[in-house]
Symmetry: C2
Subunit: 241 residues, 2 copies
Amino acid sequence: MYIETSKRSLIKGVSWRFVATTTTIIIVYVFFGRLDLAIAAGVLETFAKIFLYFFHERIWQRIKFGRQRIDPFNLWFTGLPLSGKTTLADAVFSELKKSDIPLERIDSKDIRDVIPNVGFEREERHRHLTRVGHLIKTLQNNSVSSIASFVSPYKESRQVINDMTNNYVEVYVKTSLETCKQRDYKGVYQKALSGELKNFTGISDVYDNPESPHIIIDTDTQSIEQATATIVQFVKKHYMP
Amino acid sequence: MYIETSKRSLIKGVSWRFVATTTTIIIVYVFFGRLDLAIAAGVLETFAKIFLYFFHERIWQRIKFGRQRIDPFNLWFTGLPLSGKTTLADAVFSELKKSDIPLERIDSKDIRDVIPNVGFEREERHRHLTRVGHLIKTLQNNSVSSIASFVSPYKESRQVINDMTNNYVEVYVKTSLETCKQRDYKGVYQKALSGELKNFTGISDVYDNPESPHIIIDTDTQSIEQATATIVQFVKKHYMP
């Protein structure tokens, strides 16, 4: 985010006044053929408009019409491991970032990299997500929207996120367990099946299917482009004026 | 944060053009006494200036002079329990918030309320502060500065915060242990001395004195008003253009 220094505003204002008044002088001269009077009119105009512009701005500051408070959203991707949450969330982020709104991308992996050794037991997962909820809430206090991708397998964790944040939009990335297993490029499903990874969602831990997500994406039948377009359209329609 | 809708910008633009051109017409009429020509000049001016204003804006968008990226700071209060960190940080926050910069207040207590049962053992404290560092970093990514107050007793935790965040300003609230004990309105020092509270900084856990804080506040000799003024002045001088 940028701010404009007072110096820049001042110089820009003087620059515009120069352009505007020169135009007036030329027009008046063309119409009346008297350069001296045209210049006198220009000088008078300069002073008059500096004051008028000031009052015009002050009056408009009191007019509420057309001023909208930025109303940040929290786009939340949930789904099985390797269901495609991160890929999809990244694509949606790139697309929405073009609109130049304050927006933060939050991914499970990035957070777990910062704070290692967070467990995958039910209670630990829930605490972890409550922290993420607090992070998103703090961002929202400062007008920043978020795009978050977390397995978030438990209904109660998603409910907490919903309660903590405004404009919670749940995207259920509904990829079948079979497809996720086939995609197993990280070898994590293999490790979960062999018992090397404990509490693995879909294998040795539950995934509560979302009951009323705002958007359902079936990656077995929809392309990333289609899915991205659907989600972007939803967010733009509901949360971007 | 607010945004201006296109409708508001358009109506405001037309409103100013009306005021500006009416002024021109009046001036020209006063100088030359020909209302018909004055109106014709006004009409010509209206069209000319709509285009000129557009190009003037486009040219200024390419001029970098006077555009400053907001460079968020992280004002970090450290000190013994009841040293006065929260009171002082709150006062500084109220003062700096007047400048209308994006600013978030983060207090140890608020964070511990959201995520209860965070321990006070050395490792737990350190992980807790690393999370806070991540929160501040994420805010900074979005141009938001922060005012944080945490006992943060260990040198290594403060170092991590320093490394994770930009423009780290350390305020050491240097209140003597005796004064803190006397202030014991929460009865926490009493509980720590009796052994009811474990790992209590200053009693049963270490406080590493900051080695090179940016600001030292001695609440035994300085009033809150004096201390607030000192800190606000420092921040304004270094981080607010």
